[in-house]
C-alpha cells in the first residue's frame, strides 16, 4: 500500500490524465471488439494479437525511415485485408455456431499469430520512436508525453469517423441492420456474408490503428497481445454491445482505475486489479440478473 498519491495532489492529476489518455486507446480496441461481437456474435480472443501485428507494421515503416505516425494510415489498410482473409479462411465457418466454437477458433488464431509473429519478426521487444517530445503542465509537476496525447487524439478521430460512417453509409446501415436481426436483414436483401467480412475487416483495421499507436507510445512483442484482449473484453462487458459512448466512458474509467491501482496497491497489482474488477462486475451482473429472474417468476 502506498499513499503517495494522496500526499501529493499533483500525482492524482497525473494519474488521472495518464489514465484518460490510456483509456481512450483501450476504448478504440474495445469498440472494434464490441462491433463484431454485436454483429457476428463472436468474441475475438485474437484481438490483442491483431493489435500487435498492426504495431509491427508501424515498426517496420519506422525501420525503413518512414515516420511511424504514418502507420496509423498504412496499418489499418493492410490490417483490413488481413481481417477479411481471416474471415474467409476461418471465421465464416464458425459464425453461425455457438459462442464456444468461435472462442476456440479465435483462441487458435491467437496462438497461431503469436507463433508466426515470433517466427517472422523475432522475439525481441521493439518500439518505434516518434520524437514528439513532452508537454509540461502545472509548473512542470505534470508531464504528458506528446505521443500519448497524439494516440488519444487519433483514437478519437477514428472513432468519430467510424460513427459517422456507420450512420450515413450504405454498408454502415447494413452492418447495423445485421446486428439487430441477421435473418430479417437477409430477407430484406442485405448480403450478410459481405457484411460479416466487412465487420471483421473494420475491426482488424481498428486494431491496426491501435497497434501503430502502441508501437509509438509503448513497446511491442509477439506475446504481448493478451492483456489488450482482456482489457477490451472487460470494457465491452461493462459498456454493453453497440454502445459507443458507453465504450468510451468505460475505457477511460478502466484507464484511470488502472493508474490509481498502480499508485495505491503497487505496480505488481496493476493487471491483477483489472482481473479482479472483471470478476466483481461479472458477479454483480449475475446477481442483478438473478434478481430480475425472480421478478419474472
Amino acid at each position: 500500500m502506498d499513499f503517495l498519491v494522496f500526499q501529493y495532489p499533483m500525482i492524482s492529476v497525473q494519474a488521472f490524465l495518464d489514465g484518460i489518455l490510456l483509456g481512450i486507446l483501450f476504448a478504440l480496441i474495445a469498440y472494434g471488439m464490441a462491433l463484431q461481437w454485436g454483429v457476428m456474435n463472436i468474441i475475438n480472443i485474437a484481438q490483442g494479437d491483431l493489435v500487435i501485428l498492426g504495431g509491427y507494421i508501424a515498426y517496420f515503416m519506422y525501420l525503413y525511415g518512414i515516420h511511424p505516425a504514418w502507420g496509423v494510415i498504412v496499418s489499418p489498410i493492410i490490417m483490413f485485408f488481413v481481417g477479411i482473409a481471416i474471415y474467409k479462411l476461418v471465421i465464416n465457418k464458425v459464425v453461425d455456431r455457438d459462442l464456444f466454437i468461435s472462442i476456440l477458433a479465435t483462441f487458435g488464431i491467437s496462438i497461431l499469430f503469436m507463433q508466426l509473429m515470433n517466427f517472422a519478426f523475432g522475439a525481441d521487444v521493439v518500439l518505434a520512436n516518434s520524437d514528439y517530445g513532452t508537454t509540461m503542465l502545472f509548473n512542470n509537476n505534470v508531464v504528458l508525453p506528446n505521443s500519448k496525447i497524439f494516440s488519444a487524439f487519433i483514437s478519437i478521430l477514428f472513432a468519430i469517423c467510424l460513427v459517422i460512417y456507420m450512420k450515413k453509409s450504405k454498408l454502415g446501415r447494413a452492418i447495423r441492420a445485421t446486428a439487430q436481426n441477421a435473418r430479417a436483414a437477409k430477407i430484406l436483401g442485405v448480403d450478410t456474408e459481405k457484411v460479416y467480412a466487412a465487420t471483421f475487416g473494420i475491426n482488424a483495421a481498428l486494431c491496426g490503428v491501435a497497434g501503430a499507436l502502441i508501437s509509438i507510445t509503448f513497446t511491442i512483442h509477439p506475446y504481448m497481445g493478451l492483456p489488450y484482449t482482456i482489457r477490451s473484453f472487460m470494457i465491452v462487458i461493462i459498456a454493453g454491445l453497440g454502445n459507443l459512448p458507453g465504450v468510451a466512458m468505460s475505457g477511460m474509467g478502466l484507464g484511470v482505475f488502472e493508474e490509481f491501482a498502480d499508485y495505491i496497491l503497487g505496480t505488481e497489482f496493476r493487471i491483477g486489479s483489472v482481473f479482479l474488477l472483471l470478476v466483481l462486475i461479472l458477479v454483480y451482473r449475475r446477481f442483478k440478473l438473478s434478481r430480475k429472474r425472480e421478478y419474472l417468476k
Binding site: 501529493y8 523475432g122 522475439a123 521487444v125 518500439l127 520512436n129 513532452t134 505488481e268
Partner: protein, 412 residues
C-alpha cells in the same frame, strides 16, 4: 494387404534397429565427444537462444580446428546435438530426458535463461550428467545442492549491487537513497536481493520498491514517484522490455535522476533503439569486449568480438561469449580428468581454475562462478548521436570515466 503388412513391419524393424544403433553410437564414439543441449530456437527466448547456439558453435569449431580435446593420449573433437525447447520449461525437461536416455548423451550444455536451466537441472542431476551452463544466473540454481551443475557466469544477485557501491563512492562514502523497479520473475528478484544487500551494507535507504508484472509496458507510475521522491539512484531490472520501457518513459517524462542502473541493455540494443536518449544509462554486463582476460583459443575479448562478427554478421552479446566459454571449461575438465567417466569429469569441473577470454572461472560449492566480477558499462554518445558502451566499473577494467551525476534533461 499382406504386402502392406510386411512393408510396415519391415520399416518398423528398421526404425527400431536404427534408433538402438543411435544409442550405441552417441556419447563418446570414435574421435567424437557428443554433448547435448536443449536451446530455445523458437518461442519468446529465441533471439537469445540463437546467441547461445552461435556461441557454442563458434567454440566447437575453434577448439576442433585447434587440435581438439586430448584424453588418454588420443585426440577427440566436440560435437553437439541440439533440440529446440520452444522456450518452454516442460519441453526443455523432456528434451533433457530424451538427450540422456535415448541419445545417450553423457555431458550437457545449458539452455538459455534461468527458468529453463531450473527445469533441466533436476534431470541432469538425477542421471549424474555433468552440465556446464552459461545462461542461468538465478541464485536459486546454486542453493539446491546440485552436484553436477556448473555455471560460468556470475549469479544474479551480483548484477547491480556494484551500482549502489558506486553511487555511495560518488557521494563521498555517504549513504544514498535508492528507487527500485524490478520485474516479478526469478532472475530480476534475485537482482533485487543483491541490491537490497548492498543497500543494507552501505546504510543506504530505499525510497521506492516497485514490482513490475511481466505483461507490463508502462512504468509511468513508478517514474512519477521517482520525480517526486528524487532518489540518488534508480535501479531497473525487467529484461529487455524493462530496459526499453524505462529509457523511453524517462526521456519522455523528463525524469531527472543522478544515476540510472539497469540490466539487459545490450540484449535490448538500447543505444540502437533509443539513440541519444539512452545516454548515461549504467548497465550490468557479464562480459565486455574491452576486458583484458586472455586464453589460447580466442585470444582476448577484442579478437573474439571481431571473429564472431565476421562469422555471424553481428557483434557478440555477452550471452554468446559466456556460451563459448562453457566449451572451454569442458575441454579443460576433460583433459584434466583424462577420462570420460562422468564422476571424474564432474570432479575435474569442480576443481576448475582457469582464465578464458570471458573471465576467470572457478566454481563455488553450489556451482556458480565466483572468480568473475560483473562489470558496469555506461552508454556514451558523441555529438553525432553515435553511441557506445564503455566500461566504467570496477575501476580495474574501466575504459572510460563514469559521468556522474547524469545531466538534467533541461541541459541535454
Amino acid at each position: 494387404m499382406k504386402i502392406n503388412k510386411i512393408i510396415v513391419s519391415f520399416i518398423s524393424a528398421a526404425v527400431i534397429l536404427l534408433s538402438t544403433s543411435v544409442v550405441s553410437f552417441a556419447k563418446v564414439v570414435g574421435d567424437k565427444i557428443v554433448l547435448g543441449a536443449a536451446i530455445s530456437l523458437t518461442g519468446k527466448y529465441s533471439s537469445n537462444g540463437v546467441h547461445t547456439q552461435n556461441g557454442y558453435n563458434m567454440a566447437v569449431d575453434r577448439i576442433n580446428s585447434m587440435g581438439g580435446v586430448k584424453v588418454g593420449g588420443k585426440t577427440y573433437k566436440f560435437d553437439i546435438i541440439y533440440y529446440d525447447d520452444e522456450s518452454n520449461p516442460k519441453r526443455a525437461a523432456q528434451l533433457a530426458e530424451r538427450l540422456i536416455s535415448q541419445d545417450g548423451v553423457e555431458f550437457m550444455l545449458g539452455p538459455y535463461s534461468s527458468g529453463l536451466t531450473k527445469a533441466i537441472a533436476p534431470v541432469t542431476e538425477k542421471y549424474g550428467v555433468p552440465m556446464v551452463e552459461a545462461n542461468g544466473a538465478s541464485r536459486s540454481l546454486f542453493t539446491k545442492g546440485y552436484k553436477y551443475l556448473f555455471a560460468v557466469l556470475a549469479p544474479a544477485n551480483l548484477y547491480l549491487d556494484v551500482a549502489i557501491d558506486l553511487a555511495v563512492e560518488k557521494n563521498n562514502g555517504k549513504p544514498v537513497t535508492v528507487a527500485m523497479a524490478f520485474e516479478q520473475d526469478a532472475f530480476s528478484q534475485d537482482v533485487r536481493l543483491g541490491v537490497l544487500e548492498a543497500i543494507e551494507r552501505t546504510g543506504s535507504k530505499k525510497v521506492i520498491d516497485d514490482k513490475l508484472p511481466k505483461e507490463l509496458n508502462d512504468m509511468a507510475a513508478t517514474l512519477v514517484k521517482v520525480k517526486q521522491m528524487k532518489p540518488d539512484v534508480l535501479v531497473v531490472s525487467g529484461h529487455t522490455k524493462g530496459a526499453l520501457t524505462a529509457v523511453r518513459q524517462i526521456s519522455e517524462m523528463k525524469v531527472d535522476v543522478p544515476m540510472l542502473a539497469m540490466t539487459h541493455c545490450d540484449a535490448a540494443k538500447l543505444s540502437k533503439q533509443h539513440g541519444k536518449n539512452s545516454q548515461y544509462a549504467l548497465c550490468a554486463s557479464q562480459w565486455h569486449k574491452t576486458l583484458t582476460y586472455k586464453d589460447n583459443f580466442f585470444k582476448d575479448g577484442m579478437t573474439y568480438d571481431a571473429d564472431f562478427t565476421k562469422e555471424f554478421g553481428y557483434a557478440p552479446p555477452y550471452q554468446a561469449a559466456e556460451s563459448s566459454a562453457a566449451l572451454l571449461v569442458f575441454k579443460d575438465a576433460f583433459e584434466r580428468a583424462n577420462s570420460f567417466d562422468q564422476k571424474k569429469v564432474r570432479d575435474a569441473l569442480a576443481a576448475t581454475n582457469m582464465q578464458t577470454f570471458y573471465g576467470n572461472i572457478k566454481f563455488a560449492e553450489g556451482g556458480q562462478n565466483v572468480d568473475k566480477p560483473m562489470v558496469l558499462f555506461q552508454v556514451m554518445c558523441d555529438d553525432g548521436g553515435k553511441c557506445e558502451n564503455k566500461v566504467v566499473a570496477p575501476t580495474k577494467w574501466a575504459s572510460a570515466k563514469l559521468i556522474h551525476p547524469i545531466p538534467s534533461w533541461s541541459q541535454r
